[in-house]
Structures are given as structure tokens and as C-alpha cells.
């Protein structure tokens, strides 16, 4: 077992990147991602991490540099937030389409306007369809573990896709909490050297990302989608092996007191841990309630969700983002699709809350539970979703 120390989650994330022995970091600072990049630049400067640190002039350049690094077969890392992600958006889509493995931490923050440096998942949802493997971390330990997991999955010959790790900005990035480091020997066992299927090299010229017209474009894109869907088996086996090595077991969705529950909360990100305490409190009051935390966001774990909610009568889906003009939050939309016409399809109520880090407490989640119970008694379809804790609503 590695050392257990109290460290800010951003710093332990950077230490995990160091343990992954990356070759190049290209990043531009943006709140609340800054501490990750700062610590990495220190590690490179101190000689603790033998990597190139490229202080680029924008996030667009950060992702472009990472594309080049991965294309020559080296290990690239970047991280960003919100507006930075919006600026790099063009290249975010390109690296997944070009099957370039890398890891990016997204310190989740609202998109402007109005300007918010605080946490929610609106930036996450802006890249929902970018073709990356995407996972949510619920605490500092999970962030640490998933940096190593990220490279393991991304660089697998069966996957060859970039991996994005979602970490709630401030609420997680800026918290000091205990993290158990890995031993170097454990990292070496888990994460083999990166051997790309194709790499740019002057002696073996290849073209990457060239033009594809009507006769071939569809085939390329369908192959890309199939690669992402099929990555799930590799993701699950990478989690299994992680469990064998460090004893922490991860799954596409994590259940808490869910097996016999009539009602299930569904969450993404570190809301899940607070909701687990609301579940305890509601159970003490005799309510039949449990929790499912969505860890794997893309590829979406349809099958796992269908199985996990089999015995539930109703679901309370918590979204931390708005799909403007849509029929609820992005997580609820996917769940409704996943469960449509299932036998014993549960009734889904959807609550959007916690935008720009607005505090959502255990009592708030209890209120949400009670509100959901009222709604499903009257007419669950009357309103497909509602905003919780917003003045005037």
C-alpha cells in the first residue's frame, strides 16, 4: 500500500500524472484547474518529472500540442475548465476522431455568461458528443486512481481514444483530503509503456486526419462510434485489474443501498457522496430509497442502468446542467431513453440544482425526495423536470 497523505485534490491529481510518467504537458491556466497545472510545472521544474512542459498561449493550442504529442506516440496530459474547454472544442473532437490517446482532467465549471468560476456540469455537457471516454470522479482518491486508469484505457490497442476525467471544480479540486498513493511497482504493473498502433515518424510516413468525402466519411465515423461503444469491455477490465492491484473496485455505476429500494437517486460527480448521507437519513425515517452514482458517462452504460433499476418504482435524477429548451437535464434525457418501454419502467422525476456551486445540503436532497413523491402521486408527466432551490420557481 502506498503512503496515505492529506493533500489538495488538485495536487494529488498532478502527483498521479507524475506517476503516469507523462512525456509532455501542454496547458493554459484557468480557474479552478490552475493548481493542477501549477503543481505539474513545479514537478517538471524541480526535475521530479522528466517531461516537457509547454506553456501554450491558449487552450486551443494546448489540445493541438497534445494531438501532436500523442500522434508521435508519446504520453500527453492537459487539463482545463469551462471557457478553456470551449476554446479548445475544435481540437477536442479532432483527437478522438483521429484515435489519439491522452488524458485530460476537466475541472468542472459553468460556462459563461454570466461569468461563473464555480462548479456545475454545463462544460461537461458541451462536449458530451465529442467521442471521448468520459468518467466522473467522486473524491480525491478516485481522481488519483482514474489518471492511471485513463492512460491504461486510452492507450489500449483495443481502445485508442482519449479519456476525460470529470472533477467537480472547487468542491473537489480545492479540497484537502486523504489520498493513498500507489507504489511505483503497482503503477508499472498496471500501466505498460505506450505502444501506438500508428505513429508519425519521418522514416515511416503516414497521414492522419486527412479529408474524407461522401464515399468514406460515414464508414469512418461509424467505426469511431463502434470503437467508443466497444471500449466499455476494456474499461471494465481496466477497473477490475485496478481493483486487483490497489484494492479499490470501480464500476460503470456505483450503487448504495439500491438493491431493495423502491426509489433511487441517480447522480453524477461528488453530489453522490452527499446524497448517500441523505439516503441514510431517509432510511432512518423508514423510506425505501437508494442511490446509483453514474461513473461512466461515455460510453453510456445503458445495460448496467437497465439492470440496476429493475426493481425500482421511481427514479430521482439529479442534473447539474441545463439542456436549454430540452426535456430536462442531460442525465435524465439519457436515462429516459435507456428505460423507455422497459418492462416495469420506473417513473422518472428530474431535478436540476447546484448550478455555479450553489450549496445543496443533505436536507435539500431530502426535500427533493419528498417533492418527487408528491409529483409522482399527482401526475409525473405534468412537468418532466424542475429546478430546485431557484428563487421565483
Amino acid at each position: 500500500m502506498g503512503k496515505r497523505i492529506g493533500l489538495e485534490v488538485s495536487l494529488s491529481a498532478a502527483e498521479a500524472v507524475k506517476m503516469a510518467d507523462v512525456d509532455c504537458i501542454a496547458a493554459y491556466p484557468i480557474t479552478p484547474q490552475t493548481h493542477i497545472v501549477e503543481h505539474l510545472s513545479e514537478l517538471v521544474n524541480n526535475g521530479e518529472l522528466d517531461a516537457e512542459f509547454i506553456p501554450v498561449e491558449s487552450e486551443h493550442s494546448a489540445m493541438s500540442v497534445c494531438a501532436g504529442i500523442a500522434a508521435v506516440g508519446a504520453r500527453a496530459f492537459t487539463c482545463t475548465s469551462s471557457q478553456g474547454l470551449a476554446l479548445m472544442n475544435e481540437i477536442v473532437h479532432i483527437v478522438s476522431s483521429m484515435r489519439l490517446p491522452m488524458v485530460m482532467i476537466l475541472a468542472n465549471r459553468s460556462l459563461s455568461a454570466p461569468i461563473s468560476i464555480w462548479n456545475d456540469h454545463t462544460d461537461v455537457m458541451s462536449v458530451r458528443d465529442c467521442g471521448w471516454v468520459q468518467v466522473f470522479a467522486n473524491n480525491g482518491q478516485e481522481v488519483f486512481d482514474h489518471v492511471l486508469f485513463g492512460y491504461r484505457v486510452a492507450e489500449s490497442e483495443k481502445v485508442m481514444l482519449p479519456v476525460m476525467i470529470h472533477v467537480d471544480g472547487f468542491i473537489l479540486t480545492h479540497v484537502i483530503e486523504p489520498v493513498e498513493f500507489w507504489e511505483t511497482e503497482q503503477v508499472e504493473r498496471y500501466l505498460p509503456e505506450f505502444k501506438p498502433v500508428h505513429a508519425l515518424h519521418p522514416d515511416r510516413p503516414v497521414t492522419m486526419g486527412c479529408i474524407a468525402g461522401p464515399p468514406i466519411f460515414s464508414e469512418v465515423k461509424v467505426a469511431q462510434d463502434e470503437a467508443l461503444i466497444q471500449s466499455k469491455s476494456e474499461i471494465i477490465s481496466a477497473w477490475k485489474e485496478l481493483g486487483d492491484i490497489v484494492g479499490r473496485n470501480y464500476k460503470p455505476i456505483e450503487g448504495y443501498k439500491h438493491e431493495d429500494a423502491e426509489t433511487l437517486f441517480i447522480t453524477q460527480g461528488c453530489f453522490g457522496e452527499t446524497v448517500s448521507l441523505a439516503v441514510d437519513a431517509l432510511r432512518d425515517e423508514g423510506k425505501s430509497v437508494g442511490l446509483l452514482m453514474d461513473r461512466l458517462w461515455r460510453p453510456f452504460p445503458f445495460e448496467e442502468f437497465r439492470q440496476a433499476v429493475e426493481n425500482a418504482k421511481s427514479l430521482i435524477v439529479i442534473d447539474r446542467a441545463i439542456s436549454y429548451g430540452g426535456q430536462g437535464g442531460p442525465l435524465a434525457l439519457d436515462l429516459r431513453s435507456a428505460l423507455y418501454k422497459e418492462k416495469n419502467e420506473p417513473i422518472i422525476t428530474n431535478f436540476i440544482c447546484g448550478l455555479a456551486s450553489r450549496d445543496v445540503t443533505i436536507d435539500d436532497f431530502k426535500n427533493i425526495y419528498n417533492r418527487s413523491m408528491e409529483k409522482i402521486k399527482v401526475n409525473p408527466r405534468e412537468e418532466d423536470f424542475e429546478y430546485y432551490g431557484v428563487r421565483g420557481k
Binding site: I5, I176, S357, I362
Partner: protein, 182 residues
């Protein structure tokens, strides 16, 4: 679980105090969680930081609204922020002030347990400037043994390097000089 809310002014090190406490708890094999009130930091403006300590994994990720202990790093905060807001019935308010506990109790109409120390005076003498974050940790531990004083020494050394000894002296003096009015 023990919940501590820290009040200070930007630049005084309230976040560092919370961090050192959490690290000391983690060194003791417990769970610790420390975090700032999230926002743009402004030197001199009132700021809040939070710390939780527990024997088991800390899952709650919301702010601390009903603290067991409130720690006030700057005496001028007492008159502009309701620092005792939400303090539990048997909670303790630990504050930096040059006044006696009775005077503070009367002036602010406080009913809670009080612990007071002239941290500005101690910090000026030991550090040469009124940065009270490490001094006030001494007062906190006198008021309640949330971690052992020895557990804090190592995090203090790691954090402050060559000025660690001065901070440790200030911390130990405050531990001795804090007046308890429970």
C-alpha cells in the same frame, strides 16, 4: 464528526489553518477534510474556510452551516460578520482578541462557550507580523483537543520550512495563554 468553521481576512491564512488541521487529523489515521469558501480571493476581505474531522470517511461535500467550533483569526471580523451563526448549542467560539472573554461575551451578546487569546500580540512578538493562522491553532487545541498538538508540528514544519520554528513557538504560546470561559 467534528465541524469547524474558520473566519479570517484574505491573506491571513484561514485556509492554511484548515488545511494544517485536516493534515494533522489524517496523520493520526483519521479522516480530515478542509476547503475554502470558493470564490475569487481578495486580500483583506472577510473569508471563510471549513474543516471536518471524523473517524470514518467524510462524504458530505456541502458547506458547514452548523459548526461545533468557530475559529476567528481577526478581531475586526467579530463586529461585521455574525461569526456565531448556526453554532451548535454546546459549540465553542474561539477568537483572537485583546479583550477578556467576559467583555467579548457582553459586547456581542454571546451565550456560547468562549475561548479568547491575544493572537495579534503573540504573532507580532513571535513572527514579527500579525498573521495569526498558526497562533490561533494553539488556541483551538486548548479549547478542544480536536487533534493532538504533536500531530500539528510536522505539518507546520512541512508548510513553513525555515520560519516553522517561529510559528511553532506562536502556536505553543497561544495554547498556554488562551483563556477559556465555558
Amino acid at each position: 464528526m467534528l465541524e469547524i468553521r474558520l473566519h479570517g481576512r484574505g491573506g491571513q491564512g484561514a485556509v492554511t489553518s484548515a488545511e494544517l488541521l485536516a493534515q494533522a487529523a489524517i496523520k493520526e489515521g483519521k479522516y480530515g477534510q478542509a476547503f475554502p469558501s470558493f470564490g475569487p480571493e481578495r486580500r483583506g476581505a472577510p473569508v471563510v474556510a471549513f474543516c471536518r474531522i471524523d473517524e470514518k470517511q467524510i462524504k458530505i461535500r456541502s458547506n458547514i452551516n452548523e459548526p461545533d467550533i468557530v475559529l476567528v483569526l481577526d478581531p475586526s471580523i467579530l463586529r461585521i460578520v455574525d461569526v456565531a451563526a448556526g453554532l451548535k448549542g454546546d459549540g465553542i467560539l474561539v477568537t483572537n482578541t485583546k479583550h477578556k472573554a467576559d467583555e467579548i461575551r457582553k459586547e456581542l451578546n454571546l451565550k456560547c462557550k468562549l475561548a479568547v487569546v491575544n493572537a495579534n500580540g503573540i504573532a507580532r512578538e513571535e513572527l514579527g507580523l500579525p498573521i495569526t493562522n498558526t497562533t490561533m491553532l494553539g488556541a483551538l487545541l486548548k479549547a478542544k483537543a480536536v487533534v493532538s498538538p504533536d500531530s500539528l508540528i510536522e505539518p507546520l514544519r512541512e508548510r513553513f520550512g525555515r520560519i516553522a520554528e517561529k510559528n511553532i513557538r506562536a502556536f505553543k504560546r497561544a495554547f498556554k495563554e488562551t483563556e477559556l470561559a465555558f
